[in-house]
């Protein structure tokens, strides 16, 4: 009844809603859908960056070349590894931080602001600092590392450490977002449910498992999905920290696309790779939705 009423009084005209959403819609069509379609088109051509119009259709040649190249699978695995590590790390860290800071503590407001800080810092600044921290000769990371007896590490130079360094910087930047979202969810846990558990004799961990966690899980799921998508997309931090190196250790799909297009000028191929990356994002989203649906059935 309420919705009908709303429609009658506020949304009378059939035209008005279209008016309101038209600007945004047209804009997105122009600047998102059209490039997407053109990208799709380019992926089947052999266009070059300098003169995209002159590309000729070459069918699925680009895709074949990509899929035959072991480099693709390296990118794919790096993308997945990076995304997995960052999601697990940031969600875990963010959730723990949220739980820790949910109770009254001396200096709580200050701590909260400090913990939110990394999120506010622009990507480029983050990169600059971490490059310096990771610096082999003079970076503070190695200062600590030698001090603790581990010796100096090639954080950005050693292929086996590249992924770690990049992941650490990413988790650092991203965990506050999760912390804030989880904190909001924690604060909406109904107090009476907690009280009921206390009266029933549950200790703190039990209260967490029986009352808090079930409440958190939907939120965690959404936030994980968001983080996964963002990780697949992430360009700045990795590109500027390692450029995909060392030796391809952090060369994820997105960086590869960039390199193919702007360093090799192979527009067509870059587009094809980009489409594959998009497929990855879509697949991941679908997986999340299916898991969600199955959970609901339970």
């Amino acid at each position: 009844m309420a919705k009908l009423k709303r429609e009658i009084i506020v949304g009378e005209s059939r035209i008005y809603p279209y008016f309101f959403v038209s600007f945004a819609t047209i804009y997105l069509i122009l600047f998102t859908s059209i490039p997407l379609l053109r990208g799709f088109w380019y992926s089947f051509t052999d266009s070059l960056l300098l003169n995209p119009r002159e590309g000729k259709l070459v069918g699925t040649k680009n895709y074949k070349e990509l899929l035959d190249n072991p480099e693709f699978y390296n990118s794919l695995s790096k993308t997945i590894i990076y995304a997995t590590l960052v999601v697990i790390g940031s969600v875990a860290l963010g959730t723990i931080a949220a739980i820790a800071i949910n109770e009254k503590l001396p200096g709580r407001a200050l701590f909260r602001s400090l913990l939110t800080l990394p999120w506010a810092i622009p990507g480029v600044s983050v990169v600059l600092v971490f490059i310096w921290i990771y610096n082999y000769d003079s970076g503070v990371a190695n200062q600590f590392s030698s001090g603790l007896g581990f010796g100096q590490k090639g954080w950005l130079i050693d292929p086996s450490l590249g992924m770690f360094s990049v992941t650490l910087a990413s988790i650092w930047k991203v965990f506050p977002f999760i912390m804030l979202v989880v904190l909001a969810a924690l604060q909406s846990v109904p107090e009476e449910l907690r009280e009921a558990a206390r009266v029933d004799g549950a200790d703190r961990l039990n209260i967490f498992r029986t009352v808090v966690l079930p409440h958190l899980i939907p939120t965690l799921r959404i936030v994980s999905l968001l983080m996964t998508i963002w990780s697949i997309r992430r360009f700045e931090i990795i590109y500027l920290l390692t450029g995909g190196g060392p030796s391809g250790a952090t060369n994820n799909i997105v960086i590869n696309v960039y390199k193919l297009a702007f360093e090799n000028s192979e527009l067509g191929k870059a587009a094809a790779l980009g489409i594959l990356g998009l497929l990855l994002s879509i697949t991941v989203t679908l997986i999340y939705f299916f898991i969600d649906k199955r959970q609901e059935k339970n």
């Binding site: 009476e192 206390r198 009266v199 029933d200 004799g201 549950a202 200790d203 009352v211 079930p214």
Partner: protein
């Protein structure tokens, strides 16, 4: 058990003084109602009894044992919440079994698989299953055992909440406005259920509500609170017949007690409309003030014949309830001069008459009463005199 004793209990939230010098006793097997308007502190009091909130000052004793620092689970109480507080992702069966499970819980059950295993083993024990089945049958929940709270109606959820409270066989039952979220008909039904439960288990019940009808019908003793202070404690009859102050008088009874401002001179009472009466059959208030409040319940007022001497009133509202009629009236000016009309009250007072009385709006009546039924109150402080 337990007999509960409150000794000058005070509660502060920061600087806000929410419970003031709460002192009293609750006998074993009493059905005590904590009654009062919203914000009077009754829910806070209940939670202090349960151990969910700390006591700032004062002491609470269960059977002479100091309870202030003891956790809820050790107090052997059951708590029924206004919102039922059922665990949303557990089945009805698991909800009811939860307190039993927690009684068995050891700290090493938290380890990953051990806990799960132990839980399953425990829930398969015949005596546990039997107990759950018994309780489910008592609360008529046998059909619903495998459902989730989401799928249940309000009344069903309430019964699950009660079942969960029952299952531990507590010595004290605490209920926090359990019927507020139910519709009127269901509420009446559940009131009976709870009363039945009380007579069945023969334990102490403490029941919080703002509904005075619930209080009067269910309680063996009522503690009426306002703004953190006890206004009066006693049986429903005591509180009804002998209210300790104006607040109690106007809170209890529907419609509330009529409170009229009067001037007294020896045994002569003058109402605000100028009309005077001689007090012939009751006590006068024990005070040297000349202005007091005269309180008398609507059902104790008598409609006199026009020819008799009585307070002149004008009927303003008539509510016919079938079995009785509720008539609201204003005092009518007895004198014609203007000074009296300025000071006359425009307030409504009530009288209960029979269902088939022919009364209409605008009618002028004469009202009388027996002074033995009058209760006197102080004008400034509101207390009984």
């Amino acid at each position: 058990m337990p007999k509960i004793v409150f000794d000058k209990v005070n509660k502060y939230f920061g600087d806000v003084h929410v419970i003031k010098d709460f002192t009293g006793e609750i006998d074993d097997k009493e059905f005590l109602v904590l009654l009062g308007p919203s914000g009077c502190g009754k829910s806070t009091m209940l939670r202090m009894i349960a151990g969910l909130i700390d006591v700032t000052e004062g002491s609470i004793y269960f059977d002479d044992e100091l309870m202030n620092d003891i956790e809820p689970k050790k107090r052997n109480v059951a708590f029924v919440f206004q919102s039922y507080a059922l665990y949303p992702h557990l089945t009805v069966k698991a909800n009811i079994a939860y307190p039993l499970l927690m009684d068995q819980f050891r700290w090493w059950w938290h380890l990953p698989f051990i806990g799960n295993l132990k839980r399953r083993i425990y829930l398969r024990r015949p005596e546990v299953l039997k107990r759950i089945e018994e309780i489910a049958e008592t609360m008529e929940l046998t059909q619903l055992l495998n459902r989730r709270p989401k799928t249940l109606s309000g009344g069903q959820r309430q019964r699950v909440a009660l079942a969960r409270a029952l299952v531990r066989n507590p010595s004290l039952y605490l209920l926090d406005e359990p019927l507020s979220n139910l519709d009127a008909k269901l509420r009446a039904h559940m009131r009976v259920e709870i009363s039945n439960l009380y007579s069945r288990v023969q334990k102490t019940f403490i029941y919080v509500t703002h509904d005075q009808i619930e209080a009067m019908t269910m309680g063996t003793k009522i503690v009426l609170m306002d703004k953190g202070e006890i206004q009066q404690q006693g049986t429903p009859q005591e509180i009804y017949n002998n209210p300790a102050n104006v607040f109690v008088a106007s809170f209890i009874g529907s419609p509330p007690m009529n409170l009229l401002n009067v001037e007294i001179n020896q045994s002569r009472i003058t109402f605000s409309n100028g009309f005077s009466l001689e007090n012939s059959n009751g006590a006068m208030p024990d005070t040297d003030k000349d202005k007091v409040i005269l309180g008398i319940r609507p059902e104790k007022l008598i409609k006199l014949r026009d020819s008799e001497v009585g307070i002149p009133v004008t009927v303003k509202i008539v509510e016919r309830l079938g079995s009785e009629s509720l008539v609201a009236f204003e005092l009518k000016n007895a004198m014609k001069d203007s000074s009296a009309s300025e000071s006359s009250e425009k307030r409504l007072f009530f009288i209960k008459l029979g269902g088939d009385e022919s009364i209409n709006i605008g009618d002028e009546l004469k009202i009388g009463f027996n002074f033995a039924n009058v209760r006197w109150f102080d004008v400034q402080k509101g207390n009984r005199i």
